[in-house]
């Protein structure tokens, strides 16, 4: 059996779904649980082809509820486990991921967003932002990376496993149907060759020592009898989350220093926004670019700083204001005006963004 899936690094040209399978492999994922749904099917397809060559495993379940719960089970067994889904599958996945939140389990879920509500389209959208960041009957105790290109899909899938196992919060990689199905170039690599240390998985049960004497007992609960008991546990979780949020939050930005208007977007739409802002700046129109990479936790400090300097935000997304709602909460009290370009379930091009900006600046 070959030792490492990738030696050193290699430039490749492939679909986003294939990228995810390779990334999970080099991140040391031991098992994928899954149920097919377009547009993420090929993650499973590639994983099932690659995994046996490296001693990794796959289990197809009867639906997404089961895929989510078996992923939870895999993690409880101390394995790096993940699943992938989209759209209505993501809806079902909220129940098991809520359990992962309750037990602080480092599950990794890759979402390739498709049109909604319901079955809608199998193609593309950014309409699973609210659900992926805040879904389930919980408090959004999770980490969500929104990727924009294949390189990031690779980088952040590796990172997702590390973040999950380091901080013990369920972690999501939020892609979309375009990223899933398109082909573009990227460099895949052995994480060690870039100095990336993989956080080791560890079993939850059967640790050495006597529970309660040599170490605290392992107590994993998603059920409480007493209100105050739940409250106390959650208070601890919120404190932990608050503490790690600034470490985890990521964003990218340019052109903020001299701009009254800042274009804010995430994921694949940020490609169009970046191209549009560059083009506009070259034409002498002062406009800035801001993109949260983590949608949960948001880079709140950077958003507030930007929202305090800029006069207007133009929020651009392939959804009816799901990112905008998160931004409004983060920037609450800042005197920024929120303008929008919303195209739910439809792609947005640089031309769309340029013409909207010109409409605003006159």
């Amino acid at each position: 059996m070959p030792d490492k899936p990738i030696e050193g690094e290699k430039r490749v040209f492939m679909t986003g779904n294939e990228v995810v399978a390779w990334a999970a492999l080099v991140a040391g994922a031991e098992i994928m649980y899954g149920y097919p749904i377009t547009p993420q099917n090929e993650i499973m397809h590639y994983w099932t082809r690659l995994a046996p060559k490296y001693g990794r495993e796959f289990l197809q379940t009867e639906d997404e509820l089961s895929a989510g719960f078996t992923t939870v089970g895999g993690v409880l067994a101390g394995r790096k486990a993940f699943t992938a889904t989209a759209g209505p599958g993501n809806t079902l996945m909220q129940e098991p991921m809520s359990m992962a939140e309750a037990m602080r389990l480092p599950t990794v879920v890759v979402i390739q967003q498709r049109g909604g509500p319901s079955t809608a389209t199998v193609i593309y959208s950014q309409q699973e932002v609210t659900m992926t960041t805040l879904g389930g009957n919980g408090e959004g105790l999770r980490i969500v990376y929104s990727t924009a290109n294949h390189q990031e899909l690779f980088d952040y899938t590796i990172k997702a496993f590390n973040t999950a196992w380091k901080y013990r919060f369920p972690t999501f990689v939020l892609g979309d149907g375009y990223q899933a199905k398109m082909r573009e170039s990227l460099t895949i690599y052995d994480p060690a060759s870039r100095g990336i240390e993989l956080v080791e998985a560890e079993p939850y049960f059967g640790k050495p020592g006597v529970p309660g004497v040599d170490r605290p007992p392992t107590q994993l609960r998603n059920t409480y009898n007493v209100e105050e008991e739940l409250y106390e546990v959650l208070e601890g979780y919120f404190r932990d989350y608050q503490k790690i949020a600034p470490e985890v939050a990521e964003h990218e930005a340019f052109g903020l220093e001299d701009s009254d208007l800042v274009v804010v977007s995430h994921g694949v739409v940020s490609r169009a926004c970046k191209a549009a802002v560059k083009e506009l700046r070259e034409a002498g129109i002062k406009v800035g670019y801001f993109r949260p990479i983590t949608l949960r936790p948001l880079p709140v400090e950077a958003i507030r700083e930007t929202a305090s300097k800029a006069r207007q935000f133009l929020v651009v997304e392939s959804a009816q204001g799901q990112l905008a709602r998160l931004l409004k909460e983060a920037a609450f009290g800042c005197p920024v005006e929120m303008l929008d370009l919303f195209k739910p379930g439809v792609g947005i091009t640089a031309e769309d963004v340029v013409s909207r900006v010109k409409e605003i600046v006159g």
Binding site: R183, V268, R271
Partner: protein, 188 residues
């Protein structure tokens, strides 16, 4: 730096528009250029017009799909109707001259409209199965996104295993590529 060249290919399932787009994209990538290819896909398992969006440039590509193509190629009457929306004042619109009854549907705002007898040529001079390679020749001649050498290398990479069994197929495919280029060269 120049903007990416935007290419849209549309046809019926089986005409091979997706494989043409993929081969060109891979060839461009091999040349060290930036390429992005995305097929349209829906819930249908068959039927419907097959569309390939392809962009090739020297800098990272922006949005995966686009509103207006630099070159739009329609290979069936339904494809002509479906692709009108992607045609702007700078677009070269190419369609197969054997498609009948689409005169009213042809885009009016294109920079140039170019009928080419690709179906006819592949049927009569070559073999119907290399129709998509004729189209590939037409695309690279019209756009210059990759060199002929790189195109041949890409075809070799894709179909080499078939060429090994039957070397005549190599000749046939390369001839198809060249004929496609000639069709566009003559028309322009």
């Amino acid at each position: 730096m120049a903007k990416a060249v935007k290419i849209l290919l549309a046809g019926e399932g089986g005409q091979g528009v997706q494989s043409v787009a993929e081969i060109i994209a891979e060839a461009a990538n091999e040349e060290g250029r930036e390429a992005l290819y995305i097929p349209n896909f829906g819930v249908e398992q068959r039927g419907g017009v097959s569309i390939a969006y392809l962009q090739i440039g020297d800098e990272p590509i922006g949005a995966p799909k686009f509103q207006t193509g630099d070159i739009v190629i329609a290979l069936s009457d339904r494809a002509v109707h479906r692709t009108r929306q992607y045609v702007g004042p700078q677009t070269l619109f190419v369609y197969d001259s054997s498609i009948e009854g689409v005169d009213d549907a042809l885009p009016t705002q294109a920079r140039k409209i170019l009928p080419i007898p690709a179906i006819d040529v592949s049927k009569k001079e070559l073999h119907p199965r290399v129709f998509n390679i004729v189209i590939m020749g037409a695309v690279i001649k019209a756009t210059g996104v990759i060199s002929v050498e790189e195109a041949k290398k890409a075809i070799e990479k894709k179909l080499g295993y078939k060429f090994e069994k039957n070397p005549k197929l190599r000749e046939l495919n390369f001839r198809a590529l060249e004929r496609g280029m000639e069709l566009v060269a003559q028309a322009i």
